[in-house]
Point group: C2
Chain length 393, copies 2
Amino acid sequence: MAEPRLPLAGLKVLELGHYIAGPFATRLLADMGAEVVKVEPPEGDPIRHWGSKQDGHPVWFSIHGRNKLSVTLDLKNPRDQARLKAMAARADALVENFRPGYLERIGLGPAVLQKENPRLVIARISGYGQDGPYRDKPAFGAIGEAMGGLRHLTANPGQTELPPPRCGISISDDLAGMYAAMSVVSACWGRDAGAGGPGRIIDISLVDSVVSLTEGMLPEYGLTGKIRQPAGAAIPTTAPTNTYPCADGKWLCVAGNSDLIFRRLMAAIGRPELAADPRMADNGGRCANVEELDAAIAGWTRTLPAKEAQDILEAAEVPASRLYDIRDIAEDPHFQARDTVMRVDDPLIGPVLHPAAPFRFDGVAPKDMVRWTGPAAGAHNAQVFKDWLGEEQ
Amino acid sequence: MAEPRLPLAGLKVLELGHYIAGPFATRLLADMGAEVVKVEPPEGDPIRHWGSKQDGHPVWFSIHGRNKLSVTLDLKNPRDQARLKAMAARADALVENFRPGYLERIGLGPAVLQKENPRLVIARISGYGQDGPYRDKPAFGAIGEAMGGLRHLTANPGQTELPPPRCGISISDDLAGMYAAMSVVSACWGRDAGAGGPGRIIDISLVDSVVSLTEGMLPEYGLTGKIRQPAGAAIPTTAPTNTYPCADGKWLCVAGNSDLIFRRLMAAIGRPELAADPRMADNGGRCANVEELDAAIAGWTRTLPAKEAQDILEAAEVPASRLYDIRDIAEDPHFQARDTVMRVDDPLIGPVLHPAAPFRFDGVAPKDMVRWTGPAAGAHNAQVFKDWLGEEQ
């Protein structure tokens, strides 16, 4: 089978990663064609023990480790330290997400690695970053979301009985991994095709990654003292857009917040008099009367199952979607037509569903971007030690 | 002032973007040093009318447009179409987020642009992608979150009175923009330093971007039929980690879910007998008794203001953070020490607070990565028409 024409073919990346953020960064690079060697301890990345298993193999790792080569090294053993240095000498980039200072303590800090290879790009992911007063505090993804300002906003206003929920996914790890992937490739472009120069050391933190998405909140606070508060499923500055209850207990998200769409929405729910109401003619008026509008829309959605209400609104060209769970995603005809959800053969656990890589390149089918599924720990020891290090077994 | 040593110096990028996803992609590239020309309609990107203003200027745009050059073009006017084609001939990459088919309809589709410049990398961001049955449906960020599976999970279990909240930010637009940025740079690396070849057309959708973060849910559903359900502020597979109410009405997020940290946590809240309880010795046992643990922790947090409780837990080396709002972020000493939050002079609105770029490169101070703040629409017409097109005014 010919290699698909992937953009990062030829880029060699070492991962000293565990759990989510570091491995997700390199998975994105691997999806784009980079040769990623995941370096694991002999017992494997602890993420392999998370979530459900099939035949003893973790099912998430089929995705989380896909397109990577796995080697096992004991980073405190001198022979394996020498192997890692020799591999660093041949790599374009290295991604790590140990706690700050750990690599230095075991004698594998950036200075040591860049002495082996001055061109090496090193991305370091941590909870709080490589410096600053909180550098050494233990950090978890949840803390990144809390301190980065996301958890405060992900809530219904005034809700006091139940805590503001998490997103349900490890969003701060994901964001940090995505920023690591893009900054690694950017540093490689600069070194290889831009201004040139030696390698780089890149510092990514979970908290910085979350703060980067605070939109205009910082300048607004600094200028006016205004503190953005949670707004539930609504958007405070535009209306009507919210999530409404349906007859079957499901929820329907509706974005009716432009003049044209608003009028179509009111017609579709049988309330044309609200479309004609001068109080509702513009967004400012609709925001001022948002409770009346939300009640009108919810009064209609409560009479219908979510799928049926969605079909009616979509026929009226009003953006709407029920809140998909993973079965809705797996069964959706659009996702099937685009291979956003695809069936992949995993030699360890059989046929499984994978999400497509989130970037599509012309001439490359999504299925061809999954070259292989997440391997067992150390599955590629012999291959990598031979190809990268010239060791004969 | 010398240009800071930024990795994408020399990369020329055109933005045909509006609102969030496309402009966020190019802002990340601009933060890393790319020369980004934002092409706006004569009346400006409509995002300029969102949120609060100072002296008539939108405050978010100080960040959202930073490090970019702004030119105004009427893309339906033949003279400006010729300008855009001539600029495309000189660019490395172009990012657009019109509805699918729009650029083709006005005669500026990828085939036309790549005829001007076969090396041009074109990233197209849309709600549902450039093909598939939903391609032409109107898409909003909220719909991407709903259909991508995020809204279903961002909720408290069994909650029926209040709708599952949004994240409070435009997360699906942000994710799509981040994927666009990384795939554009990857395509440029492949073209300029990797396997070579012509430009690429990249297809990014909001829904694919959200689905990409569903962790192991797809293989798990396919193998076992299990549908991941919302879990509020907890993580279903590990305990105790949750968000707890404090005496001052604030919330405290605590991650006490490892054997060692759990014992420190129980000691800190004055419940050492739970640390010694054999039922709580491992994660499985703690998950089975999570209600008892959550009640014990909440019983303690309710007696203290959030800041004080956090200080006690941190002294005991238990990861904890109250839910920061934007004032907490602006005033935090760690964020100030690292310039995660920095004061920037904006010539249009005065000194404002900006978040740092979420990637730090050694030798480049975060403040030097903000070369200038978001400009007025068309502020760089003369400069760009001269530098890129050789027009003399």
